[in-house]
Symmetry: C2
Subunit: 205 residues, 2 copies
């Protein structure tokens, strides 16, 4: 595959591997890059190399970071008694934008999917369980699962919660239901079923 003769085809080929990018879009990107000053090509290729070289996993939560510990694990103001478990590092950014979570994170880098051969050892499940063991200094009060609503992640939550609960730690998961601004008319039946099952008491305040 490295034998593609001309530089343009090779660039299009590499760009078309990006998610959601077909040959047509990759070609548009390539022509755009060629149409800019040489500085842009240099800046872009350097940013790619540097990001890949400098960024690695946080030793504790497996978020992406340049340091030994990520910005959340090293922040003393974050509540270490509260751990939010996510699938991908990018999920952390979304949760942070909500401004509603002040604890620490744990990135699984996947969910269980026996059909695809992804068992507990293929995701960062063991390091999570190790983090939850109480030490002299601190102990965890609650683990909140914030996984994407899929069958696989439900199985993952079930599997991990069974391993965590005996330690007395509270295990919760984010609510699934109608999205804010969503319409009943246009919601799929699974979301509606969830929203009905998880209905809450209307407070009389």
């Amino acid at each position: 595959m490295n034998q593609r003769v001309d530089p343009l085809s090779r660039l299009v080929f590499e760009l078309s591997k990006l998610p959601g990018v077909g040959e047509k879009t990759a070609t548009r990107f390539a022509y755009y890059i060629l149409n800019q000053d040489a500085e842009y090509a240099t800046a872009l290729s350097r940013a790619i190399e540097e990001a890949k070289t400098k960024i690695h996993f946080c030793n504790l939560c497996f978020n992406l970071t340049e340091e030994t510990l990520c910005q959340y694990c090293s922040d003393p103001r974050r509540d270490s008694k509260l751990i939010c478990v996510v699938e991908r590092p990018s999920d952390i950014g979304s949760l942070e934008r909500s401004g509603h979570f002040k604890g620490r994170y744990h990135v699984l880098h996947g969910v269980l999917s026996p059909m695809d051969g992804i068992g507990p050892d293929a995701i960062r499940a063991k390091p999570l369980l190790e983090r939850l063991r109480p030490t002299d200094v601190e102990s965890v009060d609650e683990v909140i699962f914030a996984l994407n609503p899929t069958v696989e992640s439900e199985a993952t939550v079930l599997y991990l919660s069974r391993l965590i609960r005996p330690s007395g730690i509270r295990v919760t998961q984010v609510a699934y239901g109608l999205p804010m601004g969503g319409a009943i008319e246009f919601s799929d039946r699974h979301t509606l079923a969830r929203a009905l099952d998880h209905r809450v008491e209307v407070s009389s305040r």
Copy 2:
């Protein structure tokens, strides 16, 4: 702008300059790159650098090439008496895919747009006129304009055709009308107006 502290933000920043790519898509690209083997980051960044370093303009037609002359200008089987004028190098690929043109090309790298300060000197108009001067060896019979249907390109065709015609060279442009597979019902009024104005006799064969 080069002062963006962390490599991830810098990568997202550079990727978000690509056409049609916002911060969200750039972030998705960045996480994808970080999620792949280091080989991909290296291959992609090298492809960008190499393409930008090795590819330049064809000395004759201003298409992109690694050589002095592009693949069409250097191909003796292509008819040098027929020159198709396009806006961008990427347009050549589209025309080649139609398989209907066996002449040479000329890339203007833009169209006249006095409102944006783009005059004849800002596009490759002069080299086109120079190419059309007959020499002892060869002369051009026809110039076909294949520009995108915009007001600016119509003005460009008009302007250039006035300069070319006195030399006796035939000046044509591609037909604009209903696209193949398009429906009258969903065509915009400008396309329909063009299609009506440029209607052709139905042959009785």
